[in-house]
């Protein structure tokens, strides 16, 4: 069986990245083409691997490739090994496929940037790290990719780091991710201490023998990791600022692939979560909170990229919710992840195309009426829009409604609460996405005379068209004969369908559609039928103000972590100098002080020395005499 091609998936883009970084200016002329070719060839390898898997029976599709023994100490044995199965191949195709489209898009988008080669080197590095993340055959290998994508994200958010706020955004993303990474390392440590292994296969095999407490601990730590990487509550604050990166980066890393790594991690660890119901419930709750949290922020943002980022956060909330619903939800979480990868990447590229035509303006209040000037962008963005709000038969309809349905059917109060949250989220999504589309493409023009909106070149709109096709067709294809569910079945072991369901698919769809219509209608009334002010109104409710401030997430972090942290740092620096080093210096001062006192006896006069010697001798003799008396 040919599993030897797996290593090329990771090695090719890594090589591309290294060549462009080490090659320096010499590669400026062809670097972007080379990187794109590398990404495309990785996609080719992925497709080949997929075709090989298709030709195999269900149980033999998973393949592993051991490269060498990476870390081996005592019983701690970790191989540098790759593994592809039904779950990873979905990601491989998404990463390399969308990745290649975004490479192509960036050729045009970044054509005026002096550092275009460096940008493509980073993109290739990201592809390599992300592929390692989904192909690693153990938690530790995944961890390497996990931090690798974090680094790529840091480098790309801070790509224009000469601007201090961008550099700060990059740092913030890295640190928030590190908090999550801490969770992942702890999960690995607990797994090793409990199960004696950190490979997926090993953990899966032994998970049944472990105590629920240990599994819950691992699950919670994995959830912490997922919240960091996937911008879930409470580690979500970095994602909005991450929009500082070039727009193709936002599309690839902060919408389609990297931020969904948390969902991959949870789905991959299904054997842990299924055995630890508490942790699983925590996952679902975090997902539900985040999907509402992101949606609320999305309603108030005027920056088109930040509105889309809030939407990403919310949509990943749906995926995490789906993954937290256990065997019934994994497949739909992954399905939503894939469809979201298409429509959100497409919309981000659309946003980039708008910015490209509008002198990098991002404020939607200064757009308006752009559909006449950018018809292709409008069309592709519109298809993505229909997909995300869940209009049948577009992709989002299939994936999102299924998650809502599974949530309702999770049983009891839990099911009703989660389902209601998901349903409410759908309504809000419809509202804020309609708002984005109206503000940008419909209504009157509100831009400066200086702006000359124009359609983007073919290198930019072609990827958008392809992604739009995905947004239209993917949901339908995935659900045809439950294709994706059956494909993933060997990995996530879905439960048999419930007989008694609280809500049938039809009821959920009708409810969801009704709410979507309400959301869309409200947005039309507010933004299409009434005048949109160019400057954001300030006489708004406290809720709007809070949503504009990202629901106080930064204020909270600053008040609870940053400022106390800075105070601790300052305090410790002072303590170190004053107390610890102070004690050391006190000893030195003591020695010097006693020396100073004794020095006064050293007058330099020979005769006084002689006097002291004489008196000393007399004293000594007297003492001896007294003692012997």
């Amino acid at each position: 069986m040919t599993s030897q091609s797996l290593v090329y998936l990771v090695a090719l883009p890594l090589f591309g990245s290294a060549l462009l970084l080490l090659g320096g200016k010499r590669t400026n002329r062809w670097g972007h083409l080379f990187a794109t070719a590398i990404s495309a060839s990785a996609f080719g390898v992925g497709l080949y691997q997929f075709s090989v898997m298709l030709g195999q029976p269900d149980s033999q599709r998973a393949l592993t490739q051991k490269l060498f023994s990476w870390i081996s100490v005592g019983t701690f044995q970790v191989d540098a090994g790759l593994m592809v199965d039904q779950l990873s191949i979905c990601f491989v195709l998404l990463i390399t496929g969308v990745g290649t489209l975004i490479h192509i898009y960036s050729i045009a988008y970044m054509s005026h940037d002096l550092d275009r080669r460096r940008f493509f080197a980073y993109l290739n590095f990201f592809i390599a790290a992300m592929l390692l993340l989904v192909l690693g055959d153990s938690y530790l290998n995944l961890y390497v990719g996990w931090e690798g994508v974090g680094l790529a994200s840091y480098l790309l958010i801070g790509f224009w780091n000469q601007k201090p706020t961008y550099a700060t955004a990059a740092k913030k993303a890295f640190v928030a991710n590190r908090v999550g990474d801490m969770g992942l390392s702890l999960a690995i440590m607990i797994a090793f201490a409990t199960l004696g292994t950190v490979s997926f296969a090993g953990v899966k095999e032994h998970a049944g023998q472990a105590s629920t407490g240990a599994l819950t601990a691992i699950g919670i730590m994995l959830l912490v990791a997922a919240t960091g990487k996937s911008a879930q509550f409470p580690l979500q604050a970095w994602l909005g600022d991450a929009m500082a990166g070039p727009t193709p980066v936002s599309a690839l890393i902060h919408a389609a692939t990297m931020v969904t790594a948390g969902v991959y991690l949870i789905t991959r660890s299904n054997f842990i979560f299924d055995a630890a119901p508490t942790a699983q419930l925590a996952v679902a709750i975090i997902g539900a909170i985040t999907l509402l949290f992101g949606a609320v922020i999305g309603m108030a943002k005027d920056d088109i990229k930040k509105a889309l980022a809030a939407s990403t956060m919310s949509q990943i909330g749906y995926m995490v919710l789906g993954a937290g619903l256990g065997p019934a939800g994994y497949a739909f979480a992954i399905m939503h992840l894939l469809t979201h990868g298409f429509f959100k990447a497409g919309m981000f590229l659309g946003a980039g195309s708008v910015m490209h035509g509008m002198n990098d303006e991002v404020n939607m209040r200064r757009f308006g009426g752009l559909r006449k000037f950018m018809p292709i962008t409008f069309a592709t963005f519109g298809l993505g829009y229909l997909a995300i709000i869940g209009v049948p038969p577009f992709a989002g309809f299939y994936s999102k409604d299924k998650i809502i349905e599974v949530a309702f059917n999770a049983g009891g109060i839990k099911g009703i609460t989660l389902g209601a949250a998901a349903l409410l989220g759908a309504a809000i999504t419809a509202f804020y996405m309609t708002r984005v589309v109206i503000l940008t493409f419909a209504g009157n023009k509100r831009w400066d005379e200086k702006a000359h909106p124009h359609e983007s070149p073919i290198l930019m709109w072609a990827p958008m068209v392809l992604l739009a096709v995905g947004s239209v067709a993917s949901g339908f294809l995935f659900t045809r004969g439950d294709a994706l569910r059956n494909w993933l079945a060997p990995v996530v072991e879905p439960m048999p369908v419930h007989e008694a369901e609280l809500m049938s698919p039809a009821v959920v769809s009708i409810l969801a559609l009704a709410l979507v219509v309400v959301g869309v209608g409200l947005a039309i009334i507010k933004y299409f039928l009434s005048e949109v002010p160019v400057v954001a109104p300030t006489d708004v409710t406290v809720f709007t103000r809070a949503a504009r401030r990202d629901l106080m997430q930064d204020d909270f972090n600053e008040a609870v972590f940053m400022r106390p942290g800075q105070a601790i740092t300052r305090g410790l620096v002072k303590t170190d100098v004053a107390v610890i080093d102070g004690a050391v210096r006190a000893v030195a001062r003591l020695a010097r002080g006693s020396g100073n006192v004794l020095r006064t006896t050293q007058t330099g006069f020979v005769r006084s020395y002689a006097m002291w010697i004489f008196l000393g001798a007399v004293g000594l003799v007297a003492a001896i005499w007294m003692v012997t008396l």
Partner: protein, 99 residues
């Protein structure tokens, strides 16, 4: 004759020498007083040798003389050098070792 009388003389000489060392400023005089103290102790050594009837004290006296001779050589040389450099033989002027 009582041997103890020699000891009294020795003690007297030593005291004169010691007072001289402490009181006088002129380096030569201080130096001579040191010699006086050495010789006082020599006298005591010899006297004790006589009292105890062995030669130990006399041997030590010889050693003391050798030490005294060395001291004269080195000490006078230093005093002469100091006098040359600062035109004074006062020991109080040579207090440079204070710092």
């Amino acid at each position: 004759m009582n041997a103890a009388n020699y000891l009294y003389v020795s003690a007297l000489l030593f005291t004169i020498g010691a007072i001289g060392v402490v009181v006088r400023r002129n380096a030569i005089v201080v130096f001579m007083c040191v010699e006086l103290m050495l010789n006082a102790s020599n006298l005591a050594f010899v006297t004790f040798a006589r009292i105890n009837g062995n030669l130990d004290g006399q041997v030590v006296a010889f050693f003391t003389m050798v030490v005294a001779a060395c001291e004269v050589v080195v000490g006078l040389a230093i005093i002469v050098t100091i006098y040359r450099s600062r035109r004074s033989a006062s020991v109080d002027d040579a207090s440079l070792l204070k710092r």
